[in-house]
Symmetry: C2
């Protein structure tokens, strides 16, 4: 490493960008707004995928794959949907290049123009519902519970690694149901799956709630979401689950013969997704000025062992001990990397694994060999201790990892608690929203899009959600003074 | 099922298309040449992915992700590469739609034209090597062993589900090395990984060999391949591994400081890939006129249990037994589906699982309850037997699955043996190549592209590979009569 990271307190944004690059998570590519996810970053994403995929399967979903391209006319079939996505989509117009007449490279062949332009999918509702039309005839074909892991493209003008990129990776679930209630239950279930994943794997506390109409997915009747709070006091939408009503069924004429008497009814739909944006959330939720802090459950490897030696003989002796530890740890499901490279010094390695967020570092030197001990450092608290290599050692490391997972979660929870406020006047509201610290502001709102928009214009704060656990409380709108029956959650957001 | 499949002997091509659709593997989408991979088909692809991914990791590779889009100028940097791909690529020219002035849907916004067109990746050498330039400075950064799971697009004019589609899913490995020999070793290693996968998981015998110059990957110095023989006597290229020499390093100026004295040298490269085309190979290698035949190692589930009952009481009793069997099988790693749906009759279910290639079917009826037995049917040989539900039952099923895996492989091997021929005259050659039976023809070739091309023109046969186990044998070219030192393998191919 050349030098330390920028400090969060000095330039949070720069800290984030530098951390993503220096920890080898991702980098910008030659194509505007598109990122390269580097092997270390991708290893974290793979861990996320594996956990989520199992959760989807445990709730009865199967994976499938639908085309990358959407005919322009399909995108247009649901009016609000096309309005939401038309302004930022990549359009394929030709299917061939040809040699330039000057012999200088290639140009688009004007004779190879598509009859109908194709849109690179920004999301797949339209192409999937056009397919479901053929898959669904009767109530026997329902529910249809499908998920897709895919890349999507939204032509964002201001991009940031993981948080907002022109191309990103995600999963999108698309389900079809015979009744409204069943579809709503599915929507809520998947929001809960996401919340479970965020809390118990990412160690990231989230609020569960419903979006206001103006923040809804284009084409949905209701959008459920999970919202997290980053260390700069800004909110980040970490996952959404949409109740689509019969909107896409009507747009693509998807009907089923019902169980009762075979009458034809429109199908009820949902869609839900999380993306590589979660990588950004994970990084910002826990990391510090020394680098990444990863919850053990999503770390590419749990433990790194670094030998400290002055001679080949010492290294050999240490390696024997290290390999014994590795074998013991692997047996109980703890993944270990042994970094015995001679091209780098221990100090360099310490800094490197600190930057990359390896939860536990074990250092073994000649003194340790004499004493039958090792030095164990936990990344989250940057604390070191000496542990004896006895029969309980591996179990001790495993418990330490559990403790780290829990400690990270508790710390984030405390941060959120200390950054959640109630505001009863607009002055109060503004002073919190505009403060350095930021945070979630619980305030009364009159329920109108006009007020929501004005608050956004004046403060940049948006309604993150109407929380599911909203308490009934008579009050008056923090902006208009009109009556309200409960507080909603405001924040500036990514 | 409405009616039986077409017979292979009558219309192989129709048999394949119908099988893919009726077994719920894939279907054509609304976008020309792009397929929808249905949940049952995708479940097989997921099994393939999981095995291959582990094989790649076991050989030291990490996954990463690179952009979908390639700037046109990048594609042009390697002369042969662009020549190979320019004629069939999807080109993004605009990044926005706008409302039509007539208010009828959306049109491409002419004000949102890209300065430089973007190509939807047909393969990622160019975008990856442009990235490697920043990742590689010194011999310490090598080897770089990266793989990507992704979708790619090649604008094929004549498409067929799985075998040739405009968009397909694949993995592409891209490695960088300090020496020529190391890169060649990597190329050969990955061909061997593919062959191992084909033989031991797909139960599909493959020839290993090297492509002739005219069949090489655009931009490679050598292409290694595995070639399989389908049941209609046509060959199918199932995987390729390319030694790229320094071609892409030179095109993108990727150099490293060598270990010896720090002199700057060009990096040596490889790339290798297999795709959803393997699904087509798997289907065609083993299936019969009754439907799919799947090797147990890649089947979405190994065993289906079908209860045969006339009353709810009988079903309840059978379910107790079925659940006991499921628990025992799961313990030893055998996956089971229990189909107790009352909406379908046993006969319908038998035909359905036969069509879908479930390796083992267990039927349990009232008689079985009395006798403590079940009826076990193996899909590959369509043979039934009665098995006693004793302490060895689960183990017996596990052994049956091993036997099925082996039997399928042996059958395919025998088919290939009986369809491998030597031809010493062009008359002989033509009579084999043009026969109904088809097959691999081992023949002498003079080593020239001219002869290769003429044979292709006259017979549609291509040189599938120069086999790695080629025997030294003096002979004369089957077409030109010129001298040759060993036989190469010809066939008509997919």
């Amino acid at each position: 490493m050349s030098k330390g990271l920028p400090k969060r307190s000095e330039d949070y944004s720069l800290w984030y960008n530098e951390l993503v690059k220096r920890a080898d998570l991702a980098e910008n590519s030659a194509v505007r707004g598109c990122m390269v996810i580097k092997p270390y970053g991708y290893a974290i994403w793979e861990k996320m995928q594996a956990v989520l995929d199992q959760m989807f399967k445990d709730t009865g979903h199967s994976n499938a794959y639908f085309p990358l391209f959407i005919p322009k006319s399909y995108l247009s079939k649901e009016a609000k949907h096309v309005e939401g996505f038309a302004k930022e989509c990549a359009v394929v117009t030709h299917y061939r290049l040809k040699n330039d007449e000057n012999g200088k490279g290639v140009v688009v062949d004007p004779d190879a123009k598509l009859e109908e332009e194709l849109i690179v999918r920004p999301t797949s509702e339209t192409v999937i519902w056009s397919t479901y039309k053929n898959w669904i005839q009767s109530y026997r074909d329902l529910p249809l519970l499908v998920n897709q892991w895919a890349n999507v493209v939204r032509w964002e003008m201001r991009t940031r690694l993981f948080l907002r990129t022109a191309e990103f990776l995600w999963q999108e679930g698309h389900t079809a149901h015979a009744s409204k209630q069943e579809a709503i239950d599915e929507t809520v279930q998947m929001m809960n799956v996401y919340a479970d994943f965020a809390e118990n794997y990412m160690a990231m506390p989230v609020l569960k709630g419903v979006k206001t109409e103006s923040e809804r997915f284009a084409g949905a009747e209701d959008t459920y979401c999970i919202e997290a709070l980053m260390q700069d006091g800004k909110a980040l939408q970490a996952g959404t689950s949409h109740f689509l009503g019969q909107n896409f069924a009507k747009a693509f004429d998807v009907k089923f013969a019902n169980k009762e008497g075979g009458a034809m009814e429109y199908v009820w739909g949902t869609s839900w997704g999380v993306s590589t944006r979660l990588m950004g959330a994970l990084i910002m939720a826990h990391s510090d000025d020394n680098g990444l802090v990863l919850p053990p459950k999503l770390a590419p490897f749990h433990v790194v062992i670094v030998p400290i030696f002055k001679s080949d003989e010492q290294l050999e002796e240490i390696s024997v001990v290290a390999k014994g530890i590795m074998a013991d740890l692997k047996k109980i499901g703890v993944s270990v990397k042994y970094d015995d490279r001679t091209t780098y010094k221990p100090g360099w390695k310490f800094a490197e694994y600190e930057l990359k967020g390896t939860p536990v570092r074990i250092a073994i030197g000649p003194k340790d060999l004499e004493n039958g001990t090792v030095e164990v450092a936990r990344r989250d608290l940057l604390e070191k201790s000496i542990m004896t290599l006895d029969a309980n050692f591996a179990q001790g490391i495993s418990e330490l990892l559990d403790n780290i997972q829990d400690t990270i979660h508790q710390k984030a929870l405390k941060y959120r608690e200390s950054h959640s406020f109630k505001a009863d006047t607009f002055e109060e509201f503004k002073s919190i929203i505009n403060s350095e610290e930021g945070g979630f502001v619980y305030a009364h709102w009159d329920g109108t899009a006009e007020t929501e928009e004005k608050i956004k214009e004046e403060t940049k704060a948006t309604i993150r959600c109407i929380p599911l656990d909203q308490e009934a409380e008579e009050g008056s709108c923090v902006y208009s003074g009109k009556p309200s029956k409960g507080r909603v959650v405001f924040a500036k957001a990514y």
